[in-house]
Symmetry: C2
Subunit: 364 residues, 2 copies
């Protein structure tokens, strides 16, 4: 089978590494000459909306998927008229606009923080009357890793927050005093089979994910599975999806979802029976889904901006290093390492060592 | 780091898949245009003894390794004078000649079945006086998967057995009425650190490995570790090595060793904390070795000659499929699947299903 991927970054790279044992060949479309998955398949080098390259991608691929959600709607629709595309252009359209996404959450019964659409400073000022302080202004489109976001604590912050949006449509949402951030990763295949991973507990800093830990048997698992099922079924979704949630007063509220494999699921490579990458492929290739059961205890640490010494990471027993073959650059995710251990105590001890190592090279 | 590999078959393919997360790039030298690792690196296409290609391989690689032991001595020495080569040409030289290998075993205190070198039918006839019946005649060089071997049960079998050697130097060895066949896989790095995997119990049919099962806590583990340590240290070995053993009356005797990753260690991909492929790379790149602890229970089944339906294998919970991207052909290893399970009972139940599937497509 031949799978086309829009994007050839680290997510595409890990999809490909999971796909070779299943006999899958890959075609990547990516504008970067040195895109980090490009050694693992055919690299179509050019813009994501280049009609000739898209036609070539569709022609070469049995199914096309994406490693990011900000795919122009035209591109997704073009591909879908020429080959199989998973997730569907509709799922992408919902995910790439925060207003559409939040309305969609509500339509299927998933609670969110309070929010309001804003198209002007006047809208924002007025919305704050009902949202309450503090709140976050977010551009409706093209946000990731905390980009396109501004926190507002007092009325004085409003003009600068609106200016930060540079005139694009936005939403303002209540800042939720959450107890913790979790995400649930689930896969659904065309037969409607759904597989859920255990919740990940996520730690962000500066809007970028730093640490994810697998929570086996968490009391919120059931509620998260209920919410993600509503979403997967309403969207008639095929592939892996990650739903990010806040836990507030013993309840989950949705932050956003990613229609793709997700950084908070990287621990599944070593820490689950089947990784999110393999299950994404199994889903889009209409194969039976693999077991999502945890294998021991697992946590993942991102390396941001700087690379650790390989030998130093590998000297940590139970550490599994994943380099992305990307040049270090301020704020850039360049690698991660997963710890897998037989006990929580073992995991926690090693996690301190690994996190200290990541902090030392972090220049974000 | 850039690793050159002589050969681009399934072993090279699995080494490469383990190497990408460590940031390794690969260069393969293989005469087959469609060699199954060739999509995972630069493929130098030509004969193993082509001087220009070998020079190019050495030039492109920080270290060169092999996926098979029958590398001409000249080639290994040429490479070793131009770049780092692991395992050493000396380890190859010992492994590729059964007589040298058996004498080497004895020199380091590892017992073997009784054997004698033979260069003629007269030698064979005479040797049988001390070896005893039945026995196996084996060519000294180029044997694998049971090729170049002939069983002799009575004096009448001797002429045909000798003819089967086609005039090449051979050895005759006592046929050992073994209780079981096991192998131990170990890795050693240049610092002298050694890591041992749990024993594999191996089932052969027609000279080809069919099933390997991880034996955690086996009573023979200590003896096997002692033997393989003698070998690794005497050879000043760097990389992964597999030592195949027979168990007879509660003792282990050596059959042969492979100076490379080995089919009986494929279960380590899912069934051990660090796979044999990753540990081979860690060793030859002078990195700390990874934990070899088993992760649950694991067994591997080879697919010989014919391919199973992907969906049928993946429908078996806990089954992990590894296709080699090789066209099915009689007697050819084209894929394997590993079962990983939390209990021995769970493993045994699934192993029956998987083995039945492998038997159905087997045309060896």
């Amino acid at each position: 089978m031949k799978v086309g991927v829009l994007g050839a970054g680290q997510l595409a790279r890990m999809i490909a590494l999971a796909g070779y044992p299943l006999g899958v060949d890959f075609i990547f479309l990516d504008p970067a000459q040195d895109a980090c998955a490009n050694k693992l398949g055919t690299h179509l080098h050019g813009a994501y909306d280049d009609p000739a390259l898209l036609a070539r991608l569709a022609e070469l691929s049995d199914v096309v998927t994406y490693e990011f959600e900000n795919v122009p709607a035209d591109v997704a629709h073009f591909l879908a008229t020429h080959t199989e595309v998973h997730p569907s252009p509709n799922a992408l359209a919902v995910a790439q606009d925060r207003l559409v996404e939040k309305n969609y959450f509500h339509s299927v019964g998933i609670p969110t923080p309070e929010f309001a659409p804003i198209d002007s400073l006047a809208d924002l000022t007025q919305a704050m009357e009902s949202i309450g302080w503090p709140a976050i202004v977010k551009s409706r489109r093209m946000g990731y890793d905390g980009k396109g976001q501004a926190l507002v604590r007092t009325p004085d912050d409003l003009p600068r927050a609106w200016e930060a949006m540079a005139g694009v449509p936005a939403v303002v949402e209540a800042f939720v005093p959450f107890d913790r951030e979790v995400s649930i990763i689930a896969a659904r295949n065309p037969q409607g089979e759904i597989a859920f991973y255990p919740l990940s507990e996520n730690l962000h800093k500066g809007g970028i994910l730093r640490v994810s830990e697998c929570l086996d048997g968490d009391p919120m698992q059931q509620q998260a599975e209920d919410y993600v099922t509503r979403l997967l079924e309403a969207l008639d979704y095929v592939g892996v999806l990650a739903l990010e949630l806040f836990q507030v007063n013993g309840q989950l509220v949705a932050n956003e979802f990613a229609p793709r494999v997700h950084n908070s699921g990287h621990w599944t490579i070593e820490g689950a029976e089947t990784s999110q990458f393999e299950n994404h492929l199994r889903a889009i290739l209409s194969l039976p889904l693999g077991s999502t059961k945890p294998v021991g205890h697992a946590a993942m640490v991102n390396f941001i901006g700087g690379l650790p010494e390989t030998a130093e990471v590998l000297a940590i027993e139970h550490a599994h290093l994943h380099l992305y073959d990307k040049a270090p650059r301020k704020g850039r995710k360049v690698a991660h390492a997963t710890l897998r251990a037989e006990s929580q105590e073992q995991l926690s001890a090693k996690l301190k060592t690994l996190s200290a190592l990541a902090d030392r090279v972090d220049d974000s």
